[in-house]
């Protein structure tokens, strides 16, 4: 029952055979071997699997793979520049201790990116709402929020 779908993944066109029952995260991790996207709860509660589809942060564990057809998907692997230069959000997370165990980090960064792509100067409330679907069990969020604020400042310049 495999079907072929075409979509844009991190700025590259991808044609891939999928099983209709897969989720987007299954395709990313198990087939395309992009394991930067993490699966936490698998039911949309934790946000570890957050990717950006057509500009919006979504839980890839709840996203039917068949809906990816024709869409533009961005994962953590496509956030840094091809030469390895980190994105300002990634750099800020490192400098500001926004990372501890790291499991939530890909999702946090994707949620932060979806927010900053839309709004370059978010308030702290908007940042907290932006990452409201991402659970971190290490840091208590303060460093994460500060990392996003730092990134926003740098990206404006």
């Amino acid at each position: 029952m495999k079907k072929e779908i075409t979509f844009t993944l991190n700025n590259e066109e991808v044609i891939v055979e999928v099983d209709p029952k897969w989720t987007l995260i299954h395709l990313l991790r198990e087939v395309l071997e992009l394991t930067g996207t993490k699966e936490g709860c698998g039911v949309g509660e934790c946000g570890a699997c957050t990717v950006i589809v057509d500009g919006e942060a979504v839980n890839s564990c709840l996203y039917p793979v068949m809906e990816v057809e024709g869409k533009t998907v961005a994962t953590i692997e496509g956030v840094a520049l091809p030469d390895g230069t980190l994105h300002p959000i990634q750099q800020a997370f490192i400098e500001n201790n926004g990372v501890q165990c790291g499991y939530c980090t890909s999702g946090m960064i994707m949620s932060a990116k979806a927010l900053l792509d839309k709004k370059s100067d978010p308030t702290e409330d908007e940042i907290r709402t932006g990452i409201s679907g991402n659970i971190c069990r290490c840091t208590g969020y303060v460093q994460i929020v500060e990392s996003i604020q730092l990134a926003a400042e740098r990206m404006k310049k």
């Binding site: 209709p20 957050t50 919006e56 942060a57 068949m66 679907g133």
Partner: protein, 323 residues
């Protein structure tokens, strides 16, 4: 998880036709409920019929009130300026569902058809006198949302039918509404209690004076000022979630409010009556006595918030202070 086939119709008619020709099929919209049920093995359809690509149900049309397509996402509703201004309770409800990621894909049609006792858009639709537009093989029909939601996970849909949208009348500029979700966390949590209110009022004195009343810091001072301005509750709707198997209206409280001039005593009474109409249960989120007590508190807050918005004192959707 069992294998299933995935269908992607582009029109309502196509969706209904595909559904009609399939065995063991289920509609899927944003998928934030369906995908979870699939993973948990609670449903095992052989076919999913996706409504995500049906453009005609993904629009918001603002002629003669409003028509909101069933496929409109919670993010779109919460960000829509027209809804924020004229149907604030619905923007409130849509803005507090799940998380950002969930709201980006979850649809209002899905929230209502999933018919959870805690659905955050249900109470707002009830107080806004919304009707569900239902399409089926034999055409279209309209049912008040109050009759459409039957019980937990139960709605008044015949086989093959689907909800295409919701219509809400225009209320004019003497109406305000609000929804308050009472939960432990601000995100990814179901409410302990949800209360929506819509209030249409008549002001004996000056609207500007009522608006200024909301600059006061003490709630009882605000109510006294409104009372002094002769603010009459012409038409009030109250809806409560998580106090019954389905979101319900507090009809006795609505009836009691009619024609009353606002006062502390009237607000207390309305809260008491609404609480007497609630039938909450003990659950791990909250005990019944607590929920019943909070019905009183939140009914009053949501009513005042509705009036605050009506006077133009605050265009903010999120309650800017704790009423």
């Amino acid at each position: 998880m069992k294998a299933y086939d995935y269908h992607k119709p582009h029109t309502v008619k196509e969706a209904i036709d595909i559904m009609g020709g399939l065995e063991n099929a289920k509609y899927i919209a944003g998928g934030t409920d369906v995908m979870v049920l699939l993973r948990q093995g609670k449903i095992n359809p052989a076919n999913l019929v996706s409504l995500r690509n049906v453009a005609e149900i993904s629009r918001i049309d603002t002629q003669n009130g409003i028509r909101i397509g069933a496929g409109v996402t919670h993010t779109q509703i919460a960000n829509n300026e027209f809804i924020r201004e004229h149907y604030s309770a619905l923007a409130d409800g849509a803005g507090v569902v799940g998380s950002k990621q969930i709201r980006n894909v979850a649809t209002i049609g899905g929230n209502i058809c999933n018919a959870a006792p805690s659905a955050d858009t249900a109470c707002p639709l009830l107080v806004l006198d919304a009707e569900a537009v239902i399409a089926g093989k034999s055409g279209e029909r309209q049912v008040p949302v109050d009759d459409f939601i039957v019980g937990p996970s139960q709605v008044a849909l015949e086989k093959g039918e689907l909800v295409t949208g919701f219509v809400i009348p225009a209320f004019g500029d003497r109406t305000g509404s609000a929804y308050i979700k009472h939960a432990r966390r601000l995100a990814m949590d179901l409410p302990i209690l949800g209360i929506a209110v819509r209030a249409t009022v008549k002001i004996g004195g000056a609207q500007a004076a009522c608006r200024d009343a909301f600059k006061l810091t003490d709630v009882s001072d605000i109510v006294k000022r409104l009372e002094a301005e002769g603010l009459v509750l012409e038409d009030v709707r109250v809806a409560m979630s998580v106090v019954a198997p389905r979101p319900v209206r507090a009809r006795k409280a609505e009836e009691a409010a009619k024609g009353k001039t606002i006062s502390e005593k009237v607000l207390e009474e309305l809260g008491e009556i609404a609480a007497s109409e609630s039938k909450p249960r003990d659950s791990f989120r909250g005990e019944a006595w607590y929920r019943r007590d909070m019905v009183k508190v939140l009914t009053k807050r949501a009513l005042l918030k509705s009036i605050e918005r009506m006077t133009g004192a605050s265009s903010m959707v999120a309650p800017s202070r704790l009423w």
